[in-house]
Amino acid sequence: MKASKRIFLFLFVSVLSILIVSPTLFAQVKEVKIGVILPLSGPLAPIGKSLKEGAELAADIVNNKYPELDISIAKWEGIPNLGGAKIKLIFADSRGDPGWGSEQAKRLIEDEKVVGLLGAYQSAVTKTASVEAERAGIPFINPDSTSPALSKRGFKWFWRVTPHETWFTKDLFDLLDGLTKGKAPGVKAVPKSKLEPLAVAAENTEWGAASLAEIEKFAKERGWKIAEGFKYPHTAADLTSETRKMIASKAPTFLFAPYVADAILFVKTMKEMKAKPRLIWGQDAGFVEADFYKTLGADVNGILTRDLFSAEMGKVKPVAGKLNEMYKKMTGYDFSGSSARDFVGVQVWAHVLNNAKSTSPEAIRKALNELHIPGKELVMPWKGVKFGSPFPNDTQQNELGSGVINQYQGYPDGKLHIIYPFEFATSKLIYPFPGWK
């Protein structure tokens, strides 16, 4: 073989091998990698799966064209100001464990070289994982953890999109006070003595503990007595004595802050013990997951749950209805407040990257602090997304969010109806709680 031919062959093979080895090198459209930390195994795996699907749907809408949707990301086909770069979500399993979650944050930042992070659902995991982001100077957007303490740490690289526990607890007491004043839809004023005292059961990690503390604080401020308030391990194999204790307290109002497995156990055990509370309210999480109502069927009717979303939202907000339809087509079930918020999380990332026009952390930080997404863009019933300080000591916390309180009606084929805010109610409140058959 001639020398020139040999050189040509060498070059040809080299070029070919480069092309094969790194197709992305020559790809026209870049990708922006965002690390998403969620509990994808362990007891929280069912919730984790639905959150992942919410995030995936949002990424799909950003990356592809959906002209029928009336929100800006649906028209982008990638991030316009980054040359149409696609969003690529890199999922990491926190196993629901704070230590492991923070390891995953480190791995995503160092090995996957993600532009930023999203997650991590459980407040305890968000707490540790966001420390890694803070250390590395990488933005961490948290769409789904509600422990108030998270946004009170003064972190420079942590932004929270969802309203936190303080809002929701305020909503609960607004509902209770509203009930005594006859403001609830379809229910005459209920004497306070029929609702008091309260019995509260909260799971004992960061989120549940914070919920319990907030409830105790508001109860004191608004003058509601608590007969029984305790924490329990959400991995408990059995909750009979806890349920018995609530029933024995003779409280007419039962409040819960559980994850899904323990929420199911509580309802099953209450039914078994023939509990007769007049009102049952659950602090989101376990009480709104698909597994909760699918597993319990008609036993959920009449239960109230603090939430951020209802499939009925479409009636008052068409874009929410359309997005929910797409989600349901993809998964077979409706958006929950949690999965819809993770949808918003990715949406916030898309807007921020577009506004930043760069993937440098400093540019993203600036864009986040100047961000304003109007409410009409969102699947949530919020006024929008804008980071500020809505409650004392909050920093980089979305100040335009809000919660709703829904009631399960007509299950297994029923709907979650909005009861609070009273002006947005989609149905009458069923009161008192009808009991179990």
Binding site: P43, A45, P46, P233, A237, D238, S241, E242, K268
Partner: protein, 285 residues
Amino acid sequence: MELATQLIAYGILMGLVFALIALGLSLIFGVMNIVNFAHGEFMMVGMYVAFIISSYFHLDPLISLPFAAAIGYLLGVVSYHFLIHHILRGPMVAQLFGTFGLMLFLRYLAMFIFTPDVRSIKQGILVGKTLSIGWLTIDVSKGVSGGLCLLSFALVYWIIHRTKLGRALRATSIDAEAARYMGIDTKKMNALAWGIGGATVALAGALLAHYYYITPTIGMLFTIIAFATVALGGFGSIVGAFLAGLMIGLIMVLSGQYVSELKFTFIYILYFLVVVFRPRGLFGW
């Protein structure tokens, strides 16, 4: 008085199930000195057997009990022949990781087949029925489960202490080498221990499925409790597993009443104390 009756009743009913779950673990350890990390996963398989029979074949989940026990038995024997028998020749670490691997395999296989969704059984003669006696309201399925656990215990006890087969099994567990010299097929005995272990725990799973939720990761929760039960009762002791199961059920319910947040703590403190002061457990040999 009312409180005490209720707590004791709930504690005993829960404890009976814990005891049946721990029985197999104790038996396997007693016979072959091997810790089965996949024990809870065997239980999970039993739960899914009940779920499939109830949801796909639309039969009463009670019918699933013999099937669950049979499948559990098979699973135990197959695991022994294809995995345990081989890793027994390796070092201790290999044995630990071997059953650990089996646990992961079964768990993720279940997740692949059934997805991580939480399920429950909604239809059945016993499902959702309650019985009130005086102060006490008991879920009928919990009561029946407790009774059947007791029965299974009696049966296993009878097999081990009153039959020739049981004598051979006991001989193997006390001194495998001597048993072999006496003409006992110890390999067969080992497989039998795994079979009985698998059958009892899968049966417990099918009973539990009547009133508990079902998910592929449920096993770990009960494996840990079973470890504490076995350590407390003594490795290899059937009576020990039974009494320790009841004790743990009672401790859980009582601590749940007063300091729910620490309900596992008390069990582990007890576990720790037993390991330190009486390592062979309360009834171990």
